[in-house]
């Protein structure tokens, strides 16, 4: 019953602050995803043809994802200090695997006959990658980016332990004040904010995916 009491009023009263936190949260997630896309798609493109580098990249990024997030944020304090910088580094590490893996899968799944005909028509390696292989792999790559974003929206909350920005701040504050009248409302509002942000971003990816995928590839 404590739960319901005044939740609506809480959100209305705190709206400006909550909204700022949501924006901060979205910013750090999107910034980290953007960096992870550049690094991850790049790594994928460099390694998808060669067995050993490919296995190595997938192995390392896979290990990143298994490090408990609380521990990783903590471990980054000594080299990078507190605040946004270590938070972004940690989030990029978590975002890499789905992006790298889907880039590699997408590029490797391109029909070899299509690649051969491109080569046979005199397209060089990079032109082939940019004009043929990448656009064909794109639907799979953007799915990877979408998955990474979803993971980061959740994990970014933990960044609050190292003074990172976003809705995690409210969660940790409320945890520190368990038992006080507004603690539950505060945590609930932050969690709800994270869920809604996740949904909005997901919808945005669906739209972007549709708009950026060739009509010739859609069902």
């Amino acid at each position: 019953m404590i739960l319901g009491v005044g939740f609506g009023e809480y959100v209305i009263d705190e709206w400006d602050r909550l909204f700022t936190l949501v924006v901060e949260h979205a910013q750090i997630v999107l910034m980290s995803v953007a960096i992870a896309v550049v690094v991850g798609v790049g790594l994928g493109m460099l390694t998808y043809r060669t067995e050993r580098p490919r296995v190595a990249v997938l192995g390392v990024t896979g290990v990143f994802l298994t490090i408990p997030s609380f521990a990783l944020f903590g471990l980054l304090i000594s080299p990078l200090g507190l605040g946004t910088k270590p938070a972004v580094v940690a989030l990029v590490m978590y975002a890499l695997l789905p992006i790298v893996r889907n880039t590699i899968t997408g590029l490797r799944e391109v029909d070899p006959a299509v690649v051969e005909s491109a080569q046979g028509m005199g397209m060089g390696r990079w032109r082939r990658l940019a004009r043929i292989e990448f656009p064909l792999a794109w639907p799979i790559i953007i799915t990877g980016i979408r998955v990474s974003t979803q993971i980061l929206v959740g994990i970014a909350a933990i960044a609050a332990v190292i003074n990172g920005p976003g809705l995690g701040k409210d969660i940790f504050r409320s945890l520190a004040r368990v038992g006080t009248p507004t603690a539950v409302n505060q945590a609930l509002a932050a969690v709800l904010g994270i869920v809604i942000l996740g949904l909005l971003l997901d919808i945005a990816y669906l739209l972007i995916g549709r708009l950026t995928t060739s009509r010739g590839l859609r069902e």
Partner: protein, 393 residues
């Protein structure tokens, strides 16, 4: 003879870790404007040999000349833009429209967009597709046969003198394949490209090739010759086995009715009386006489018994000639009709339906014998020159 369009000199491909080369020291001349077929059992190296021409596979040694230029030293991408390339799976780019697919090489060569657009319509027209309808479609919206045609149009985009085709009709159902093959032959009669065509199907080779190179393991040329000669005079047992049973029947497909000496069956004009019909029949060794109308068109086959039966008018006596062929029909068509006909003869008529003669068993047997003798003589002449086999050009 003119310089060949493509000349292979001692071309060899060796893969590391394999005892025998995949292709061993091939010399071959490919004449301008001809379809040359590389045919052989799987693993014989025919595709490897073809892909060395546009250097999708780099030769280990040897040289390849196109129009006299040594292309083993050229920039491979620039070389490939000058050579049309069609593969079995066609490999259209699924994310691009048909127009953009065709525009690929012109764009790389820096054509302006007006010229490219005009060329797209021209090429689609050439392969029998409506430009405005098809240029904005995507490959998945096309049937297999349509995709194949677009593949050919795309390969022809910058009008390259040379085309390489790797089993281009391999993935298409037999009925459509036959139609596309015929269309392609008609197209080739206009565009006169130098085409290297790889297939494992000897029947396709005979149908499509001006010249066939039959390859055995290591891409060794077992025989390089016209389809007629390969069928009439296989160079050795390998070729004979590969061509398979029924070589004579296959050859009938290459021969037109106009090329053979027709047999003359007795004919009688429609105005003739019974006595004249009977006397004509008696004077001939054939069992039936052909009644012709005023314009020399065949009307009925009539036998002595039909006449003796009594008072049926000539235009209703006997049987209607159903087996009718024209001079451009193949002997195989004629033979087929003949086998079903009442008197064992197919009637040959000209474009206006006028009687020219007939094809019967004697005609076919005589034609086959003639082909065999001719091929043997040519082969003997070639052997006398000491270059039988590889350098048949």
């Amino acid at each position: 003879m003119n310089d060949p369009m493509i000349r292979l000199e001692g071309v060899t491909k060796r893969y590391p870790g394999q005892d025998r080369p995949a292709v061993e020291h091939i010399d071959l001349n490919i004449p301008d404007g001809e379809i040359v077929i590389f045919v052989g059992p799987s693993g014989c190296g025919k595709t490897t040999l073809m892909k060395m021409i546009n250097r999708l596979i780099e030769p280990t040694s040897g040289r390849i000349f196109i129009q006299g230029e040594d292309v083993t030293r050229a920039n491979p991408d620039e070389l490939r833009r000058r050579i049309g390339y069609v593969i079995q799976q066609i490999g259209l780019f699924p994310h691009m429209t048909i127009g953009d697919n065709i525009a690929t090489v012109p764009k790389m060569l820096g054509w302006d967009s007006a010229r490219i657009s005009k060329r797209i319509d021209e090429l689609l027209e050439l392969v029998g597709l409506d430009g405005p309808t098809f240029r904005s479609r995507y490959p998945k919206q096309l049937s297999g046969g349509q995709r194949q045609r677009v593949g050919v149009a795309r390969a022809l985009a910058v009008d390259p003198p040379v085309m390489l085709m790797d089993e281009p009709f391999g993935a298409i159902d037999p009925i459509t394949r036959d139609r596309l093959q015929n269309e392609f032959l008609r197209l080739q009669a206009d565009i006169r490209k130098t085409i290297v065509f790889v297939t494992h199907d000897i029947d396709e080779a005979i149908k499509m090739g001006d010249r066939i190179a039959i390859l055995r393991e290591g891409a060794q040329v077992a025989q390089y010759d016209t389809p007629q000669h390969i069928l009439s005079a296989p160079a050795d047992d390998f070729v004979a086995d590969f061509v398979g049973a029924g070589a004579s029947l296959k050859r009938l497909n290459l021969t037109r009715v106009r090329d053979v000496e027709l047999t003359f069956w007795p004919t009688v004009a429609i105005r003739a009386d019974r006595a004249e019909v009977l006397s004509t029949l008696r004077a001939s060794d054939k069992g039936a006489v052909l009644i012709l109308d005023e314009r020399q068109r065949p009307l009925r086959w009539v036998t002595a018994r039909d006449i003796e039966r009594g008072d049926i008018p000539l235009e209703q006596a006997g049987l209607e000639p159903e087996a009718i062929v024209e001079p451009q029909s193949t002997l195989q068509d004629a033979l087929n009709l003949m086998l079903d006909s009442s008197h064992g003869a197919a009637v040959v008529v000209d474009g206006n339906g006028g009687y020219l003669g007939a094809v019967d068993f004697a005609t076919v047997a005589h034609a086959i014998q003639g082909m065999r003798v001719e091929a043997r003589e040519q082969l003997r002449a070639a052997a006398g020159l000491g270059d039988r086999g590889a350098a048949a050009s």
